[in-house]
């Protein structure tokens, strides 16, 4: 028996990603398969004949992101890096090839230099080894990060789930690579997210909180990797937090009365659902006050940071096309939408 000195249900910290992936396949043996010798999960029936492949990936620790969204109507493959570390280029290359049925592959990449660089290299590798056609979109929905020439740009966070959903639906409906990419980019252009943390997370490797957060302070504008946020303030109540996050996203998206949105109140992994619903209550009130119509409201753990307590709020401005794509049925471990 290995003694672990932190409070986690793990064995060797170095084995956690490998064991998690096996545990996922054991939970969904008919839906998921692991590519031999890699940390890539794919649809058991990949590549799906006649369909554009959609793949994603990134560091582990964000479960159910990414592999939780593999399935009919969403992702064909997802690559898991070490905790909070992008997957490696060679595995991304293998995943791309495994998900190509001849119609090409779209990569959904979150805007982190590690992810972008490894995906770019992975795409090069896949193109060298086969004649797969590959494109990618970079999701950068985090409105907390200043977007200027002098930064790496905004981070990709929970808005990515909407990209998977819309692009996945388009692909399932027979869209070609260019159409699928257009839809993905459309979501990227219309989605914004802002997050906050009540506590830091603790990675299996480090075994202690990534940042110190005193009892009476919270972080605003955090990402999903245990990076400290843009601002630290005193503890606020749920309504004030919700107002702060929502205002920032609304400002960024420049949403006016009459707009129609889909929303996510996302938990960071250590937040009780009770609290997420308390946040959703105020979010929907604010939108109502501004005459913004919520077409659909998701509440839950969609893209987490291990055991961090906190939440993020995502708004996506809809049009008829996106609404139709979000309603398309989907069946994945983490998200199911049923036919009406």
């Amino acid at each position: 028996m290995v003694r672990v000195d932190m409070k986690k249900l793990i064995n060797e910290p170095g084995a956690v990603v490998d064991e998690m992936l096996d545990g996922m396949v054991a939970a969904y043996p008919e839906a998921l398969a692991r590519l031999d010798g890699t940390n890539v999960l794919v649809r058991a029936d990949a590549p799906v004949e006649g369909k554009v492949g959609i793949v994603s990936g990134g560091g582990s620790g964000h479960e159910p992101t990414h592999a939780g969204y593999i399935g009919d109507g969403m992702l064909d493959g997802a690559a898991a890096g070490e905790v909070f570390t992008s997957p490696t280029a060679d595995q991304l290359g293998e995943m791309i090839q495994a998900c190509d049925a001849g119609e090409g592959v779209l990569c959904v990449v979150k805007n982190y230099e590690g992810d972008v660089m490894n995906f770019e290299t992975g795409i090069e590798l896949a193109e060298m080894e086969s004649d797969v056609e590959v494109t990618y979109v970079v999701v950068d929905d985090d409105v907390a990060v200043e977007d200027s020439l002098y930064t790496s740009g905004r981070r990709g966070v929970c808005g990515t789930i909407f990209v998977h959903k819309a692009a996945g639906a388009k692909a399932a409906q027979g869209g070609d690579l260019a159409e699928v990419e257009r839809v993905a980019q459309k979501v990227v252009d219309r989605v914004g997210t802002m997050g906050m943390a009540l506590t830091s997370c603790t990675t299996p490797e480090k075994g202690e909180p990534t940042f110190d957060l005193p009892e009476d302070e919270i972080e605003l504008g955090i990402g999903i990797h245990g990076e400290p946020g843009i601002e630290r303030t005193e503890v606020m109540d749920a309504d004030s937090v919700t107002e702060h996050l929502t205002e920032r996203v609304l400002e960024d998206l420049e949403l006016d009365a009459g707009a129609r949105v889909a929303t996510i109140v996302n938990g960071m992994g250590g937040t009780p659902q009770m609290e997420l619903f308390v946040v959703n209550r105020r979010l929907q009130e604010i939108l109502g006050e501004r005459d913004i119509e919520t077409w659909d409201a998701w509440v839950g753990d969609y893209m987490t940071s291990l055991d961090m307590a906190g939440c993020s709020i995502t708004l996506l401005e809809l049009d008829d096309e996106l609404e139709e794509l979000l309603s398309h049925p989907v069946e994945t471990p983490a998200l199911t939408v049923r036919d009406d």
Binding site: E82, F84, S86, T88, A89, Q91, Y112, V145, P228
Partner: protein
């Protein structure tokens, strides 16, 4: 012992010592990365060099080939930003060593490495990344050999000094690239993890070269 054998020995010793040093500094690098990043830089490099050493340990390959294998292994074992930056650049730059390791080819290697890091990551000096340690180090190394005609060991020792100043330079500035850039002004006051690991690696190369 043939020239190639001596060089292979030296390269393998260097890989070993770098691997040991990174293992030693793993916690420290991770601490640096937790202040302004995501607390994995130490673990990333430790995992990468551990696998790289295992991949080349008993190799009979040419020195250039060994260096390339190290790069390839880093690419496939590190992930994150430092994976393609360290691994990809070593991989590409290793071509410069194909004719053997000489003073000239080592300058070419250093230049190719720096170029690849800058091309891949898009960072410029002053962005608070490994580029801030690398640029002065590579410039100093090149000038020391090509203009001042110093020995490679002396040149490398000057380059290490330059890299160290580069690391210190990263502390008081704001990050514009990498994860630390998300912190905006809050990144000021912390040294960059990637610049720091670059310095450690160079220190080990110097130690091997001096033996």
């Amino acid at each position: 012992m043939a020239e190639t054998d001596t060089q292979r020995e030296a390269v393998l010793t260097a890989v070993e010592r770098v691997t040991d040093r990174i293992a030693e500094e793993k916690g420290h690098l991770t601490d640096l990365d937790s202040a302004i990043g995501d607390a994995d830089h130490g673990a990333n490099l430790d995992r990468g060099f551990g696998k790289a050493l295992a991949a080349v340990e008993d190799s009979e390959d040419d020195p250039a080939e060994i260096v390339k294998t190290v790069g390839v292994t880093l690419v496939s074992a590190v992930g994150g930003a430092s994976g393609p930056l360290y691994g990809g650049s070593i991989m590409t730059a290793s071509q410069e060593l194909e004719g053997g390791i000489t003073a000239d080819s080592s300058v070419a290697f250093a230049e190719a490495y720096l170029k690849k890091v800058k091309d891949r990551g898009g960072a410029r000096i002053g962005d608070k990344t490994m580029v801030d340690a690398l640029t002065p180090a590579v410039h100093t190394y090149k000038k020391s050999i090509e203009e001042d005609e110093l020995s490679p060991v002396t040149a490398l020792s000057k380059a290490v000094d330059a890299a160290e100043r580069g690391v210190r330079f990263t502390t008081p500035i704001r990050a514009n690239k990498g994860r630390a850039s998300y912190l905006g002004w809050r990144s000021v006051g912390h040294p960059d993890p990637g610049a720091t690991s670059t310095l450690y690696i160079m220190e080990e190369l110097l130690a091997v070269a001096s033996e």
